[in-house]
């Protein structure tokens, strides 16, 4: 496992790039692979180009998979149509399928069906209130547009030196629990859920795939390339420098405590960004609790754009002209001054 102390994380980000082969020390012996699917699927070359010219990769990286939230789900839990080896061409996975996991609080079989319901009612749902398909329905996201296999992001509170799993905490678990695999997974699950399951930059990148795509922005008449304009705010810039504490898209666009799949348009009175609720976003107890609701009037998505925010546009233009208008003449004076010093006595007129 790579231990990355906070301060050097940025540097590490750059040193640590192309060839990172699997470096998990915590790869529990537990295998979801009862069907021995990895016999073939552990080979990275297992791939083809499909009829539409798309790359299809069937490789599963076991050590990464076993550090993902789905590690306990058997392959057949999602790939339900595969019953035998060798198998026929597999169908696309339906994320709403009931898998073999039992949800411990309700003791029912687990499924992502609720998510679909939330998503359907949200601004991202493909069907509008009258039950009609929305325009450009193919632009609306499905599960895999935003999600790949979610990976654990465990926390460590024992020492503040490095993120990741704390040996000392595992030791405390071992006092009562005996099964290593259970301890490992439980630790991962709980501590991953205690903070953002994705870093703000990763969240912004996910949203940017659509919300910064100029075609989609134009087609749906959105007023801003949302992630771009977010990136120009302090929050966005801090996210870019890998700050975990700053709000990402979801923190403002979802009312605290609700599923992120319940994102509502700003016209909806229940939406977190509705004019009546907006004030509560910034004054949230975790953010700027001492601020007045007026703080939320700050327009996060203002761009340097005459049509979208004219006042800011002209304000910026003023400073641009001030900058250029001051500096460029001075620069030319410097330039002329240097040239002049080469020819100290090259006067055209007469000497005084």
């Amino acid at each position: 496992m790579k231990a990355l102390p906070r301060a050097s994380r940025l540097i590490a980000l750059f040193c640590f790039s192309v060839f990172l082969l699997i470096s998990f020390t915590f790869t529990p012996s537990y295998a979801a692979d009862v069907g021995n699917c990895l016999l073939c699927h552990k080979y990275p070359g297992i791939s083809r180009v499909d009829e539409e010219g798309k790359l299809r990769l069937f490789y599963v990286n076991e050590s990464i998979f076993s550090n993902s939230v789905h590690a306990k789900v058997k392959c057949e839990g999602c790939h339900t149509d595969i019953k035998k080896i060798p198998h026929d061409v597999a169908k696309k996975v339906d994320c709403l399928v009931e898998c073999h996991i039992i949800e411990p609080s309700s003791e029912k079989k687990f499924s992502h069906k609720d998510v679909k319901e939330f998503l359907g009612k949200s601004v991202h749902g493909p069907i509008d209130k009258e039950g009609k398909e929305k325009k450009y329905i193919e632009d609306y996201p499905t599960c895999k547009d935003c999600h790949d296999n979610p990976l654990y992001r465990p926390l460590s509170f024992f020492k503040k030196v490095r993120p990741g799993i704390s040996e000392a905490s595992l030791g405390r678990c071992r006092v009562c629990h005996k099964k290593e695999e259970f301890i490992y997974r439980f630790y991962n699950h709980v501590t991953t859920r205690l903070h953002k399951s994705r870093n703000p930059l990763n969240i912004a990148e996910v949203c940017a795939r659509c919300h910064d795509n100029p075609e989609i922005v134009a087609r749906h008449e959105m007023s801003t390339k949302a992630v771009f304009s977010y990136g120009e705010t302090f929050h966005g810039k801090a996210a870019r420098f890998l700050d975990e504490r700053v709000p990402d898209c979801l923190d403002c666009h979802i009312s605290k405590g609700e599923s992120v799949h319940q994102m509502l348009p700003k016209e909806d009175p229940a939406s977190s960004i509705h004019a009546d609720n907006k004030g509560k976003i910034c004054t949230n107890i975790d953010c700027h609790p001492s601020a007045s609701p007026k703080l939320a009037k700050y327009s996060v998505h203002a761009e340097f754009n005459l049509k979208q925010s004219p006042a800011q546009y002209f304000f910026t233009v003023f400073f641009i002209i001030l900058t250029g208008g001051t500096l460029l003449p001075l620069m030319f004076i410097i330039l002329l001054d240097i040239i002049r010093r080469f020819f100290p006595n090259a006067t055209i007129g007469r000497r005084k």
Binding site: L20, G45, V93, R162, P214, L306
Partner: protein, 287 residues
Amino acid sequence: MKQFFFKIYMIAFMALTVFFIAIIWKVTFAHIIEEHHERTESQEIAKYKEEQVEKSKKTTFEKIILESDERVKHYLGYRILEEARIEGHFHHIGFDIGPDNRSYCVKCHGDMPHDAVKELRAFLNMHAFFVGCQTCHVKLEKTETTGVYKWYDRKTGDIVESPVKDNTPGTYNSKLIPFEKVDGKLVRVDSDERIEFAEEYRAHEKSLTEAQKSRAKKLIHKVVSKKPYLCEDCHQKEKPILPFEAIGYSKERIDSITSTEVVGMIKNYTQFYMPSMLQPGSSNDKK
């Protein structure tokens, strides 16, 4: 002397000043102009938005070639996982393996060349990931056969140590290539001469006549045998084609790839799918 250095210094500073003028221009007035253009551009996009659906259909080539280079970094706190992003792909890849720069086959056939038999192609491509094309598709004459196979680095093309022991199966940065005997000497099958010939053909392809083209192709593919080696030629205990031990496989790995599990599966496949694979007009002939 001092005068001279000062002159050099002044010229250098002059260049610096010009550079800064350019930068200041860029961040100030040019920025306003740029914004203006961007705005008109986005208005145009809005105008044509009705046609966008049509437009997005025709750009498959761009989509595949250009957009497939997208990369993501997952910030997991204790590590940063960087990998290529494939649209709609759920599982993580976790590492990169660079393109095969040596093989002249993939320059035309691509690095996922097998596509004829639906049920098998992924398997064959999986092998093509670490086994050079010639290993299966070249059957040497008795006099040329050496039984020597070596690994070459995908990036440099040089012969390297066997990667099998130190890596997870199949995740090698090198590929296997057979050696042949030419005038009593040991030469790799993808010799520099053959590569050169193929390269030259590719360079002149457009100016050649159809007859010349097919003759050149014949010559390039001369070494390729009509029927490639099949799965069970290697996946067997008695007399596998590949000298597993010599190319770095441990006892366990040999046992694993020649196990009944694997061999049994191959049998299943042979029964179901192999007949269609051996029919004329399938991938082997194309090759």
